[in-house]
Symmetry: C2
Subunit: 515 residues, 2 copies
């Protein structure tokens, strides 16, 4: 694979100067054009040690208008990052639409190094590479352009380059842990790099392999290739995945064949005032203790509350938050996205609030809006909300794998009960703000929402993140069910160790020594 990066390509000084000028002008032009579009551009700069990744990044920053460019290196990790799921730092680096981000190594650096150091095997590496491919596909489906450069050197050239570098900085000489083993190391690294590239070199985000020996050839090729990639992208519709042929069951035309999960809920369930009070008190005490235990064990908690309008989400959330220390949790009400949020992938705004290890985030409505309101109201296209199931599953899997405890509640009430509550809200002054015309309009789409909820549960109730459906007509019953589920889940989860990341997310949690 790397043969063609060792053929000795060069560019003379005069040609470089001449061609650089034209290139710079054009780069600045497409950058201005980009600003008018909804395309985020991600440039990944990777390659063998000594190939000059830093030089390339400096060059790009010199050529581009830096106001539209942010550069990220991932070689060290902040405390903030260490306390969150692994991809959190990458989500923070994803540029807004119209902007560029240059990423040193990006999501490839850690798996590569960790495989090289023998911290994971090939099968584990492949699993991580498939996660990376999913991640990139998700960004690209959302309109992003991902440009991946790999800089390569022949064995001789690398050895010479590293020697040269080590004069200024001894640490760069690490490819040569023991003199004489360079040859072996070079080939082992190349084998792993080939695997990484091969598994992630798909049509929609290809790798560009570049010979790095001649700096002028290297930089000019990077600039011209980036320019071309952006130009092509500007002239083409985004490379979204095509719609599925059809993804829902065609049901027989009898009502007994159309029963849903929501139909199965016994909404008449209730709890008497007395039992409610005493149970509430007991549960709140336990939850307070469990929240502190989670804090001490550095386990974070993410709660998702979804449900029909006036389903009782707010009341249930308050019964929980009342019980716990205000320093430990954050409740995020999800309304229409801000401008900044709109300029990113729809999951971006939820990643923002992912709690640090030991803390709690409560989402009052959530990413499930994509497959509920956005689906029913047509804010998301068919293709968009259909692929969201897989995207959401991957997102939640990342949370859970990194040790987050995740619970999802759906609060259901009957149509009659909802009507009663709406009317009630209109009567009571301090509740009036809670009812809008939109609520009445949503109510008319009851069957559409029911179908959407049923499909949502089927696709996103997973072994690591099941849905709890709550019978909500009786508020006391619903609240106790929520709190009890919370307590039981927390109790069980806190006695378990975080699944050894090495067993399923290889190349994750494990960090290279000395970093």
């Amino acid at each position: 694979m790397f043969e063609a990066t060792k053929v000795g390509r060069t560019v003379d000084k005069a040609s470089f100067k001449l061609q650089q000028e034209a290139l710079r002008t054009q780069l600045l032009e497409v950058q201005r054009e980009l600003l008018q579009t909804d395309i985020p551009v991600i440039v990944l700069v990777s390659g063998v040690e000594g190939a000059g990744k830093g030089e390339v990044v400096n060059r790009l920053n010199e050529w581009l208008d830096t106001r539209g460019v942010r550069t990220f290196a991932f070689w060290d990790e902040t405390e903030e990052e260490r306390q969150r799921p692994r991809y959190w730092r990458f989500w923070n680096a994803v540029p807004a639409r119209g902007k560029l981000a240059i990423l040193f190594g990006g999501w490839y650096q850690a798996p590569l190094e960790q495989r090289f150091q023998g911290l994971c095997n090939d099968t584990e590496l492949d699993a991580e590479l498939n996660r990376i491919a999913d991640f990139e596909r998700m960004l690209i489906n959302d309109g992003a352009l991902v440009v991946k450069f790999w800089f390569h050197l022949s064995e001789q050239d690398q050895q010479a380059r590293l020697k040269e570098l080590s004069r200024d900085d001894r640490s760069r000489w690490k490819m040569l842990p023991k003199k004489g083993r360079f040859h072996e190391h070079y080939h082992r690294y190349e084998r792993i790099a080939e695997r990484v590239i091969r598994y992630t070199d798909c049509g929609i985000s290809p790798w560009y392999l570049i010979e790095a020996e001649d700096r002028r050839y290297r930089d000019l090729t990077v600039g011209k290739t980036l320019l071309h990639a952006v130009k092509v992208r500007l002239s083409q519709p985004p490379a979204v995945e095509p719609p599925s042929t059809s993804s829902h069951l065609e049901l027989p035309d009898v009502s007994s064949a159309r029963i849903t999960l929501l139909d199965q809920l016994d909404l008449s369930k209730s709890l008497d005032r007395q039992t409610y009070k005493s149970e509430l008190r007991a549960l709140q005490t336990q939850l307070n203790e469990l929240a502190w235990e989670a804090y001490n064990k550095k386990r974070s908690l993410v709660l998702v509350f979804e449900g029909v309008d006036a389903g009782g989400k707010g009341g249930a959330i308050r019964r929980f938050t009342n019980a716990i220390d205000a320093r430990l949790y954050r409740a995020i009400p999800i309304a229409a996205p801000t401008d900044e949020e709109k300029a990113h992938h729809y999951l971006w705004r939820f990643w923002r609030y992912i709690p640090r290890a030991g803390y709690i985030t409560i989402y009052d409505r959530s990413w499930y809006g994509r497959v509920l309101v956005e689906r029913v109201e047509g804010f998301a296209t068919d293709v968009e909300w259909r692929r969201a199931y897989a995207e959401i599953n991957q997102f939640e899997e990342q949370l859970v794998r990194s040790g987050t405890i995740l619970l999802k509640f759906w609060l259901q009430v009957s149509q009659e009960e909802q009507l009663r509550r709406f009317k009630d809200r209109e009567q009571v002054p301090y509740k009036r703000f809670k009812i809008t015309d939109e609520d009445w309009r949503n109510r008319e789409k009851w069957p559409e929402y029911k179908a959407a909820v049923n499909e949502m549960v089927v696709h996103t109730s997973t072994e690591y993140a099941t849905w709890t459906l709550v019978e909500g007509d009786d508020k006391p019953y619903a609240r106790i069910k929520v709190l009890r589920t919370l307590r039981d889940t927390l109790k069980t989860a806190l006695t378990r160790e975080i699944e050894d990341p090495g067993s399923r997310i290889p190349c994750a949690g494990k960090r290279p020594k000395g970093r």
Copy 2:
């Protein structure tokens, strides 16, 4: 995920009869329509034990016109199949365009069962699921419609069904290895099934989960869903992946920046007559012995010969085949595809000739036509040949993982040497048939072919299947280089064990006990 398949959906007898009639007529209609298209339809029938997969298949065969349908079960394996790479049997089951194939379990059965029996772990399962997703994406990109059904039963229903079945056939009772452990087994199987479905439920080939308790509901839903999926597919363009934004380097505008691998070959290399003769004899003797050793060790050999016209492929192949027993090898000259071959994916015709364990297939031109002649002559679209690199890599990886020894030769001659040979061929009567107008036309596209070859080597020279570039101006030199490379590779490969399939293709080679 399976919650909604346990809600008790039913269809009464009268409704079934009525709706079945309309359904059958429509199914036959779309089947006729299908025949006029280039869409192969693959129906996968999977699900928990006792859910009635066999009944569903019978029903579909009753409803459809069986002349356009073939049914495949994979529960046992023929000797022919066992001696070839694992996916060979699935390639044989892929229907021609316009036809249907119904596959019991398909490529999902083995990984599921093997994970259930503890023969592989989750990470290994995931790796296999990603391979499956790639395989399906490849078929779908080629125009196929893949419809995947999963039939599910609640724990009680399954227990009852298995008891009922075991009256006729004791073997079906295997879900209950020890009475009392049914509950545990049920949930373990469900957890694995969920994982399998979750990882392979992508937009372009969704899973349809169907409650299997009520036979009428089950069958009618299958029929209607299949009908709908085919109808939607008939009304839509195929769900091909979009073109990549750009996948080649933009090179600086100086000739020193455009050197390719082929430019680096020293075509003046030659061998004197004397050395050639003695080396040839020695190599042929060794190769004969190695071919028998491979036969005894059940290792198969696949040789790919590509090169410019008049590059000397035929001559090199004959020097090898002359040396070995005619029973051991098969030489396949690749010309334009037959009608039957055209009705399948382009890789299909190469899978046909994959040798049994211990045998040799020599491809005189090969699947690389896709990224060479088909690219340069425009027989394949940009999107098609670009994604072929990854498809070819996956194909070759399967061969090598299953123990096949794979070698690929590119025979290069200079333009002058080619001209000399063309003219020579026109002079010599028995060589005249070897030269056509097409050869002359191809010659004019020399630069395009050179670029295509360079890119082909970059993308498909992998750790498990490297390209050998052969300097071909001097025939003796070229032939000896081919034979020597063959000998050295065979020697090394035959002393190594086949990589334990379990370490990288979990769920592959290992077969469930008692099958």
